[in-house]
């Protein structure tokens, strides 16, 4: 459905002349002819990444505004601005300028709140987008590299969020930094040095806010921008994945053109997201730093909570038993090191490497552009749900004090519950997810073989009741049977046993075992024979 090329006529309009001017210097017509009508498939889940992109743009715009008024300095000043409850109190310039932005700069509070809301939405959108990619297998060849870029974006977003949260130098953010210092100190051998170099000496010092400012407005956004560019170029170049369906194959992409449909939809969606953050910024108060007061190390407010995306680290710290060792004049604080660095380290490494692990298990070297329905790859789906459950338990325990006060429960019991649930929860989630996936696959199989339940009950002359099943359309039949059913590999399939050296043999055995774990239990697709039998028998 491409337009028929016309004879090129010298441009008459100013826009046409400008385009021609550029083309004579940059040759843009060649790219434009291919890309202007580029096809993108349509599905609601494909806009999650868009939300992340647009909230990033909102963050850049509102962030630039904030830098015009924010003073990244820990020099002490005495406040005498228009917010009288803080009158005469000593505070850092960073905190004082944040209070000024909130009360004395018109639109300042709005921009601060838009910035904070957009940050929460940014990390949330990345997280949900990443889950979507995971559960639909969109990370498979050829998109493993883009998965890694996306993972880098996720980690940078967390870091960026934490740095930004720390800049106002209020009681809450200072407490967060104090915890960060405690975590850094727990790193064996170099921890104390890293802490002194980061803070410019002892905590809190006078250097941290300006340093975090540079990291927050230059270093990490620069990396984010570069990674986002690479991420989008790859999406563009490799073309978007699509769901199975009539006419959708591994060799094509079916959808609507960039110009005009996605230009309008995606461009419009940016303004919708901006509009929503503006509503939030105008209507829902967030991070009212003036009510927390400036950071002082000897104060704290009960029920302190970090932004949502740091909650899992907080919960991890809270539930860890107090394991610490002293030997040869050294202290190893496993009570901090394990929950704050090792557990997230393992979780994130597993996340980053998953596409490569799965490719090794399946031995699948084909390109995949048709997405998996989560039910059709039960073990992957179960691993994902187990990981999400692990994260979820950590996150919940991060609010154990709030749960305790709101639901009148014992804090100790919640913590102990978390200590068990963090292991048992994922195991249970893994098991139940696989069962649900198999159940859904069987339901699909029944639907293919016997048609869709119509809800119409008929009574036969013999008195027998039965429900009429309506046949599926050819498109649905195809859609429900388009997936692969993976099978475990036998040892001989994994490696030709003739003359395989011993270490390779061990690896082959391991792989055969893992494939059995992945694909040992499965629901087969209906065969053509089964289908014809089901139809000719006429019984449901």
């Amino acid at each position: 459905m491409s337009a028929t090329p016309a004879e090129f006529a010298p441009p008459a309009t100013p826009a046409g002349k400008a385009a021609d001017y550029l083309d004579q210097r940059l040759g843009i017509a060649n790219a434009a002819k291919k890309q202007l009508r580029k096809i993108f498939p349509d599905h609601w889940s494909f806009m999650l990444g868009e939300i992340a992109l647009y909230s990033f743009i909102i963050l850049l715009l509102s962030g630039v505004f904030l830098t015009l008024f924010f003073t990244p300095s820990m020099n002490e000043v005495t406040y005498n601005g228009s917010y009288t409850p803080l009158d005469g109190i000593r505070m850092s310039e960073a905190y004082a300028s944040t209070v000024n932005i909130s009360f004395d700069v018109r639109g300042g509070l709005l921009m601060r709140q838009i910035h904070h809301w957009a940050a929460l939405i940014f990390v949330m959108a990345i997280t949900v987008h990443m889950l979507r990619i995971f559960f639909t297998g969109a990370f498979r060849k050829p998109r493993e590299i883009n998965w890694l870029i996306g993972f880098g974006l996720f980690v940078c977003a967390l870091l960026e969020g934490f740095c930004g949260y720390s800049l106002p130098d209020d009681l809450l953010s200072g407490t967060g930094l104090r915890i960060a210092e405690g975590v850094i100190l727990s790193i064996p051998i170099v921890g104390t040095y890293v802490s002194f170099f980061l803070f410019g000496g002892e905590f809190p010092g006078h250097d941290l806010v300006p340093r975090l400012f540079t990291i927050h407005i230059l270093l990490v956004p620069g990396i984010l921008l570069a990674l986002i560019t690479a991420h989008l170029i790859l999406v563009f170049y490799q073309k978007h994945t699509q769901w199975a369906g009539p006419g959708r194959t591994e060799e094509n992409v079916v959808g609507l053109p960039l110009l005009p449909v996605y230009t309008a939809k995606a461009g419009g969606f940016f303004f919708v997201i901006f509009g929503i953050t503006a509503f939030l910024g105008g209507l829902v108060s967030i991070n009212p730093i003036w009510s927390y007061g400036p950071y002082v190390p000897n104060q704290i407010s009960a029920g302190s909570q970090p932004d949502w995306y740091i909650g899992f680290l907080e919960g991890s710290l809270r539930m860890m038993p107090n394991l610490e060792f002293n030997f040869w004049g050294h202290t190893l604080s496993l009570n901090v090191l394990i929950p704050a660095l090792i557990v997230p380290g393992i979780l994130f490494t597993g996340l980053a490497l998953y596409p490569f692990i799965e490719a090794w298990v399946t031995g699948d070297r084909r390109e995949h552009h048709i997405l998996d329905r989560p039910r059709n790859v039960p073990t992957r789906t179960a691993i994902g749900v187990a990981g999400a459950t692990f994260y979820g338990v950590l996150w919940l325990v991060g609010g154990n004090d709030l749960i305790a006060t709101h639901f009148h429960l014992s804090l100790e019991q919640i913590t102990w519950f978390g200590r068990f649930a963090v292991f048992l929860g994922p195991a249970f989630a893994f098991w139940i997810t696989r069962r649900i996936c198999f159940g859904l696959q069987r339901a699909d199989r029944d639907k293919v073989l016997h048609g869709r339940e119509s809800g119409i009950i008929v009574r036969a002359p013999s008195g027998e009741f039965s429900e009429i099943h309506e046949p599926l359309s050819q498109g649905d039949l195809h859609k429900l049977t388009a997936h692969d059913v993976h099978r475990p590999l036998s040892l001989t399939e994994v490696a030709d046993s003739n003359g395989v050296p011993a270490p390779k043999m061990r690896q082959a055995k391991l792989r055969a075992r893992v494939t059995k774990w992945y694909f040992g239990e499965r629901v087969e697709k209906p065969t053509a024979e089964e289908y014809h039998d089901a139809i000719s028998s006429g019984h449901h």
């Binding site: 407490t175 921890g191 094509n252 309008a264 407010s301 009570n335």
Partner: protein, 361 residues
């Protein structure tokens, strides 16, 4: 246009469901699950009814007009609403009128602009889906071979393989280069030395009651033992904090303490009793887990809780950890009374306060 689509139509004459029998279509022999190709486009009301299309056009235009009006309203609100004005209504409560108006108007302006564009795309722009071929990402064998040949020629031309001296010295130079980049960061901060082992407390240092400290943090008064009644909790700091100036936060990050008084008979630890004064004991306020300020005191049980991660310390038993992730007791500050009858420190803490670190031992 996929070839599968054409073939299916040709083979089966476009007749998928031929006959109904027991609610089932009778499907031709062959692959019953074959891809039937793209479904035919189902026209929307906007494609066939010019009236509906006109209505959609007006709706889109109305949204764009609303956006314009709100944007103008935003500028008016910016100029006209005083910064101190407050609006108060359910369920939002009292908020800045300026922030409220700016947020809502900006929101309407953005949302209706975006909503208009999306509605336009969904109603009046084409929704005929069509396929585009994917190109092969992998290069052809010839291209790969050509690339390898070019690379080899380039490497050959450089002579790097034939001249190991150049190769090795180059690798050496590149390997050493990151080190100066690290070296130059040395002045980010001083070395830790023993700084984490000492605080501002020393023999005779007056204990200042936090509640008496002036707003500029430069004056405050000491605490007499008789002020500290059983069950009361005093937050306190060394007198040095009053003159610390810019170093105030650094000093307080290690030296903040609190005092409680218990019935000496309730105190389990002999050393704790010795380091206290007639049942008054002073502990570091900095949690030994990751350094938050401990804060929640239960008079009856003598438990002190850190609100960050809920480490709980037993103040009647030398600050021992009884719950939570902290591994070490809260350090106790030995105190006594000076000639004027005020509580003072007998010495610095006998161990480092705050979170553990590698060199702590």
């Amino acid at each position: 246009m996929s070839t599968g689509e054409m073939n299916y139509e040709e083979e089966h004459g476009g007749a998928v469901a031929v006959e109904e029998e027991h609610g089932h279509a009778v499907v031709p022999a062959g692959d019953p699950f074959a891809d039937p190709g793209l479904e035919p486009h189902r026209p929307r009301i906007f494609d066939i009814d010019e009236k509906a299309a006109k209505r959609a056009e007006r709706q889109v235009a109305a949204l764009f007009a609303l956006s314009t009006l709100s944007a103008i309203g935003f500028m008016v609100a910016y100029t006209e609403i005083p910064r101190t004005a407050i609006v108060d209504f359910f369920p939002i409560g009292a908020v800045s009128a300026s922030n409220f108006a700016l947020g809502v108007l900006l929101g309407i302006s953005m949302f209706s602009l975006g909503g208009g564009a999306i509605y336009w795309a969904r109603t009046l722009m084409t929704d005929v889906e069509f396929p585009q071929e994917r190109h092969h990402l992998e290069s052809s064998a010839q291209d790969k071979a050509a690339a390898v040949a070019e690379w080899k020629q380039g490497v050959e031309d450089s002579g790097i393989k034939r001249r190991p001296l150049i190769r090795r010295t180059l690798i050496g130079a590149l390997a050493i280069l990151p080190l100066p980049a690290l070296w130059i960061l040395r002045d980010l901060g001083p070395l830790p030395g023993d700084t984490l082992r000492s605080t501002a407390w020393s023999e005779g240092e007056l204990i200042i009651n936090d509640a008496t400290v002036s707003i500029d943090l430069t004056t405050g008064t000491g605490i007499k033992p008789e002020e500290v009644t059983i069950g009361s909790l005093f937050m306190a700091r060394p007198a040095k904090a009053l003159t610390a100036g810019e170093d105030y936060n650094n000093l307080m990050a290690k030296a903040a303490i609190f005092l409680v008084r218990m019935d000496p008979a309730d105190i389990v630890s002999q050393r704790e009793r010795d380091w206290g004064y007639e049942g008054i004991v002073a502990f570091s306020k900095i949690c030994t887990h990751v350094g938050c300020a401990v804060d929640l005191y239960e008079q009856q049980t003598h438990h002190m809780l850190c609100p960050c991660h809920q480490s709980t310390f037993d103040l009647s038993d030398a600050g021992k950890v009884i719950f939570g992730p902290a591994a070490r007791s809260l350090p106790q500050l030995p105190i006594t009374v000076n000639a004027d009858g005020y509580l003072v420190a007998r010495s610095d803490f006998q161990e480092p306060v705050g979170p553990s670190f590698w060199e702590r031992g």
